[in-house]
Each structure stands twice: as C-alpha cells, then as structure tokens.
C-alpha cells in the first residue's frame, strides 16, 4: 500500500444530498456561501471573516494564503466543522457540514500527538473514532489496522518509531506522524493548517514531495492553509489570497505548472514571478489598500 492508496478516490458522493445541485453541474466538494464569522459577544466582537464565498471542487488542491490573522484558519476550521459560521452556510459534499457527509483528515501546525499514547496508537486514533473502522477497532487494532499504521510510518521515513512516545521524537518526526494520522482513515477531504510551518526548510521540502506524490495518485480534495508562498505554488492547483481581517478572498487563480513539480522548478522564472505576484497581493492586503480584482 502506498500513502496515496490510503486516500479513497473522492469521486463518489454520499447519497441523499440535501441540496441537489442544478443538473449538469458537479457538486463542489466544499461550498461556502455568504459565510461570515464573528468571535466574541456583541459589543466586544471581532469579525474574523467577512461575507465569503468559496467553492472547492473534487480533487482540487487549494492553497489559501494571506497575511497573518486574516481568517485563513477560520475557513479551514469552518470546513472541518470545528466552528460554526455566524452567518451563511458551509456545505460539504452536498450537505451541511454538521451532517458529516465526508470523512475529513486534519493536520495542524502543532502536531498535537496525545502524549499518553505511543506514535502507533496516536496514528490509529481516527480508526477508533470513525466508522466503518470504529466497529472493527477492537478486532483489528493488533492486525490490519496496525499494519496500516506501520505502512504509513514507513512511507514518511518513521520506520521503527511506532512504539515510541511523542516526546521521544523531534518536531519534524512528529509532523510526519501527524500526516500519517490525517491519512489513516482514508479521508476524502484533507484539511491542512500550516502543517509544515514549524519545520526547517529541508524537512519541509521533503514533506512537500511526499504530499504531492500522495495527492497525485488519488486526487483527494485538499485545503491547505499556509503562509509559505513557495509551498502554495508548489503544491496547489489553485491559490486563493485573502485580505487582512476581516478576511475576504481577494484573488483566486489556478496554478498551471506541470506535475510532478520538483524543488528545482521553484527557482525558475515563472515560478518566482508567481511568488512575487502573490507576495505583492499580500503586502497590499496587509496595508489595507484595496486589492485589485483579478479574474484568472
């Protein structure tokens, strides 16, 4: 089994959609319509996200960039069902997000391994929670599930670390394990919140390559929040740029470099030009100046 093989092809949609799409148009994997999020009580509230519309299609690798505090993570947490929109609707695979139509895998910048479990047990955690694995967990935790966890670990270069506790691993190793945990339950939708943010350049690039390989094989829908523009351009099929708080999407453009992309490509002129364009957009967004509308 390869990493890629653990991601089920996300072509089929759950039966019984609540909101049927108009005939002839595919249901987007994720749809945010007129979503805004406000934190805190009235009078002391912070608008994190202004009326945002966003569609992510099946198999798309969407990278979301923007100045810090602009609501990138808020979008991700909305889609992951960790917070509710103050206004608007989040629809996931044709259903409201609370209905849990899609299996989601999530990885945050902080690896958040549970310190009382071994790496192997941490990685198997989604299997303990998510059906259909949940009902077989007792039976398979020493069998098939364990093999699965070991396979994944081997593929991110953590062979032999299954029995270690999280505090015995370095940050980079934990982040690799974190990716394994996000993938083990074969999610159709992968939410990555700056998963490589705290890593050194070389580890980061290595994990980009693993990530790309995995995505190429089965094309899950991915939403990647990042502040690394090279990362966005290397991994994404499409990049959305957000404005400063309250965030809204000010630029939305596809990335057309051929796959598989290599690290060397990130130093070629077109790639650098894209980075510079993204950078100037974010600089504008930070300063609060109106960003130019661009239609890709």
């Amino acid at each position: 089994m390869t990493i890629a093989a653990t991601l089920a092809p996300s072509a089929e949609l759950p039966a019984g959609n609540l909101t049927e799409p108009p005939a002839g148009r595919p249901v987007p994997a994720v749809e945010l319509s007129r979503v805004s999020v406000t934190f805190g009580q009235a009078g002391d509230s912070v608008a994190a996200l202004a009326e945002t519309n966003l569609r992510i299609h099946e198999g798309e690798f969407l990278a979301l960039v923007g100045p810090s505090g602009c609501g990138k993570s808020t979008i991700l947490r909305l889609v992951g069902g960790l917070i509710q929109p103050t206004e608007g609707v989040v629809i996931l695979g044709g259903r409201e997000v609370a209905a849990r139509a899609l299996r989601i895998g999530m990885a945050f910048q902080n690896p958040t391994m549970l310190p009382w479990l071994t790496i192997e047990q941490n990685i198997m955690l989604p299997l303990k929670i998510v059906e259909p694995f949940r009902s077989q967990f007792r039976k398979e935790k020493r069998g098939a599930f364990r093999d699965k966890a070991h396979d994944l670990l081997a593929q991110v270069g953590l062979k032999g670390f299954a029995g270690k506790f999280p505090w015995q691993l370095s940050g980079g190793m934990l982040q690799r394990a974190n990716l394994c945990r996000a993938l083990i339950h074969e999610p159709r939708m992968l939410m990555l919140d700056e998963p490589f943010g705290a890593l050194d350049q070389f580890t980061r690039e290595e994990l980009w390559a693993i990530m790309q390989k995995m995505w190429l094989a089965h094309k899950p829908t991915v939403l990647l929040v990042t502040h690394d523009l090279r990362e966005a351009a290397f991994l994404g099929t499409r990049i959305c740029v957000m404005s400063a708080r309250p965030g809204r999407i000010v630029d939305d453009a596809p990335v057309t470099f051929p796959r598989p992309r290599t690290i060397a490509m990130t130093f070629e002129p077109e790639f650098v030009a894209l980075n510079q364009r993204l950078r100037s957009l974010i600089v504008e967004a930070r300063s609060g100046a109106p960003a130019p509308e661009e239609t890709p």
Partner: protein, 258 residues
C-alpha cells in the same frame, strides 16, 4: 527504573531513624515523664505487646477508610467529570462545593450519628465527605484545562462528546487524578479516625480515646504510629499505581536524550 535502595531513599530512611533516636535520647536526657511524652521504644513495645488486641481495630479502621475512600473516589470522579465537561456547570456548582468543603467535618459527625447511629456508617460517611473534594477539584481542573488543540483532533473526525471525554479528557486528567488520590487517601483516614473518636466503640480512633482517658499514653502514641504507618503504606500504593499509569507525564527525570 530506579534501584530499590538508592542514595535518596537512604537519606529519607536515615532522617526517620534520626528523628526517633533524637526523640528517645531527648526524653532520656530530660527525664520526661512517659505520661506526657513516652519514648518511641516504649511506644513500639506497647504496640507489639498489644497487637492481638489492636489488630481488629486496625482492620476496622482500614476497612472503614477504604470503603469511604472508594465511595469518595466514585462520587468525586462523577462530580468532577460533570463539572469539568461543562463550563456552565463548573461556574454554577463551584460556590456550593466550596461551601460544602469549608464546613469543618468535626461539625458534621454528630449529624451523621444522629441519622445513622454510632459505628461504621458515620465513619464511612465522614471519610467520604472529607476525601471527595480534592478529587472533584482535580478532575474538574484537569478536564477544564485540556488543551483545545487535543480535542480538535477528535472533533475534526466527528467524535461525540463522550468519545472526546473518554479518549482525551480522562487520560489527560489522570495525573491530576492520582495527585488528588494520594491526598484523598490520607484525608479519608482523618475522617474515619475523627468519627471513631466521637462515636464508635471500634477502630483505632476509639482505642486512642479510651487509652487517653486511662492515661495510657504509650497506647495513644501506638495508635498514632499505626495511623501514620497505614497512611504511608496507602500513599506508597497509590504512588506505585500512579507511576505505572501516568508515566508519560513524569518523564523529566528518567529521559535525557531523544
């Protein structure tokens, strides 16, 4: 793993021996009457001579304490979980709990005696009422301070509240729980003995009351020593369980390099 007899243990043991030797010598030199402060050698002698008589009382006190403690743990974990899971419950129930815990338990014993007569029942209840509070507070604090990031891992998977409590909240709370158990088990002894001195004809508390009214001071001290011994023994038992269950939280000492 640590060796059974390392330097630290030798030092602790030495201090205990020194304490008793100092006491013995001090009494001998000052010519202290054993009606006021008996020498430790007298106390130990009394303890061993009277062991056949003391033994049923030791068992009685131990049993009462353990029943009260077990009930206290059950009640404490339940209340702590209820209070710790919900912020509203935490803020609503806290003042009432503080109120209960600030009542001196001596004042409660007569009420228990009034309701249940003298003997084992009021002793169990006193032990329970005195030992459950630290458990409630620790469980509630442990749950309430669980890092939201840890919970998010499960929430993103669509886990239910119960799943999160079982897989994150409770394991995360274990170090707090065991810290409170060690305190609670000694509190439970206090409760039992308190009730036995007031309203019982069995148990170490009662033995000490009777001995002191007969001016049998070495016997009173023998009771004290027995209580201290049982307290230490139970503390050790829970420390051992703790180090097995929550070793992940105490890795500072025996882990040097990654």
């Amino acid at each position: 793993m640590k060796k059974l007899f390392n330097r630290q243990r030798a030092r602790s043991f030495g201090l205990i021996v020194l304490f008793f030797v100092g006491w013995e010598v001090g009494c001998l030199l000052s010519g202290m009457s054993d009606l006021i402060l008996p020498r430790p050698s007298q106390v130990f002698a009394t303890m061993f001579q009277r062991m056949p008589i003391l033994w049923p009382h030791i068992l009685q006190t131990l049993m009462t304490t353990m029943i009260g403690f077990a009930l206290g743990v059950a009640l404490g974990v339940f209340l702590g979980a209820v209070i710790g899971v919900s912020r509203t419950a935490y803020e609503t129930a806290y003042p009432l709990l503080i109120g209960f815990s600030s009542i001196p338990k001596v004042a409660v014993v007569p009420i228990f005696v009034l309701w249940f007569g003298s003997g084992t029942v009021p002793a169990v209840l006193t032990a329970l009422s005195i030992c459950f509070f630290p458990i409630v507070v620790n469980i509630a604090t442990g749950l309430a301070t669980t890092e939201p990031e840890l919970e998010d891992v499960l929430k993103a998977l669509g886990a239910s509240k119960l799943d999160i409590l079982w897989n994150v909240g409770l394991p995360r709370t274990m170090p707090f729980f065991f810290a409170s158990l060690k305190v609670a088990v000694t509190y439970a002894f206090v409760g039992t003995v308190l009730s036995e001195t007031v309203a019982s004809n069995r148990g170490i508390g009662n033995v000490m009351m009777t001995a002191s009214s007969n001016f049998n001071v070495p016997m009173v001290f023998a009771g004290l020593f027995i209580l201290a011994g049982m307290g230490v023994a139970l503390y050790v038992v829970f420390s051992l369980i703790e180090s097995r269950v929550t070793g992940w939280a105490n890795r500072k000492n025996d882990f040097a390099a990654a």
